[in-house]
Amino acid sequence: MRILVIIPAYNEEEKLTDVIREVRECPVEMDIVVINDCSSDGTQLAAEKEGVPVITLSVNLGIGGAVQTGFKYASLHGYDIAVQVDADGQHNPNQIDRLIKPIVEDHVDMVIGSRFLEKENNSTSHIMRLIGMRLFSKITSRVVGLTITDTTSGFRAVGKELIGYFSKNYPVDFPDSEAIIMIHKAGFTIVEVPVEINDRQGGKSSTDLGKSFFYPLKVGVSILSILLRSIKKIRKEKP
């Protein structure tokens, strides 16, 4: 079974080397690809020094666009599982096996590493950010009819079929909640596993809730758009 670790990176030269080395120390054999999202620092050089393939985007596409590039790469090279790991050191690569397990054993399509599933979370995120994360999780859970405790987690693993789906359809603007709702409506299965997520150790967050006043509104609109699309689909399917 071929596994690819996708590391989207934007100006993460400080932590990227450590993250790559931690992934390599995992007992599971995995390939790595770094998606350099048009960084202006030494991100590309840091990845190349570690001898991992680097795909450099000529224009900054944001986290969604960078991750989808990784899925396209995984689809093109026939990988069975793709794992998304942030380049800022927030995710512990030694927990990747927890993410992969449900895909291998239970043929689940997407596994989300949740920091809220168990109370062992040591994150000291800003209170507003935590409230935002909880709120989106509640909305997403209500919409999909499943309990999703951490929709904003970027620590995710997806199976082969979903890699192909994401390579063609991925909500590049707001991948957090929208991706979950989208694949649920498309009939894919989702589970959460508990993980520990560290506080950011370098770079800047791509989804800093405090930075964008309109962020919750935009996410709300993106959720609404999926719901409207699914209603349209159901109407078409009816004889």
């Binding site: 795909i55 985007l57 000529s58 224009v59 666009g65 989808q68 590039t69 396209k72």
Partner: protein, 122 residues
Amino acid sequence: MTFGIIQIKVFFLCLLFVSVMLYLIREKEMKEGYIIFWLLVSLTILVLMVSGRFLYFIVSLVGAQTPSSAIFFFALIILLFLNIHYSIKITKLEKTCTHLIQNIAIMEKILVSRMTEKEERK
């Protein structure tokens, strides 16, 4: 039919507008579909200017007090829909750009890897 100062000004404005459109056609700066739309807009303005009856018919149709408010009403509606149309176009263009940027980056990576492999074999 009498032409006042306003009508003459509007006529020259339309003439200038049509000239700009013709220049844009010649330079291929704008797609034909857009040119047709803007030519129709200038034609409508000309018709409204020449035919006072047609203008007052529209005013009565809308129930406006003055011709200017009727013109502003229609102009706003048209511009609003035009903006929505452009928003759709921009969204489609952004999607196309994203896919192109992603695919170019992946192809570039594959090309470089193959070239490196070839050089290593040599």
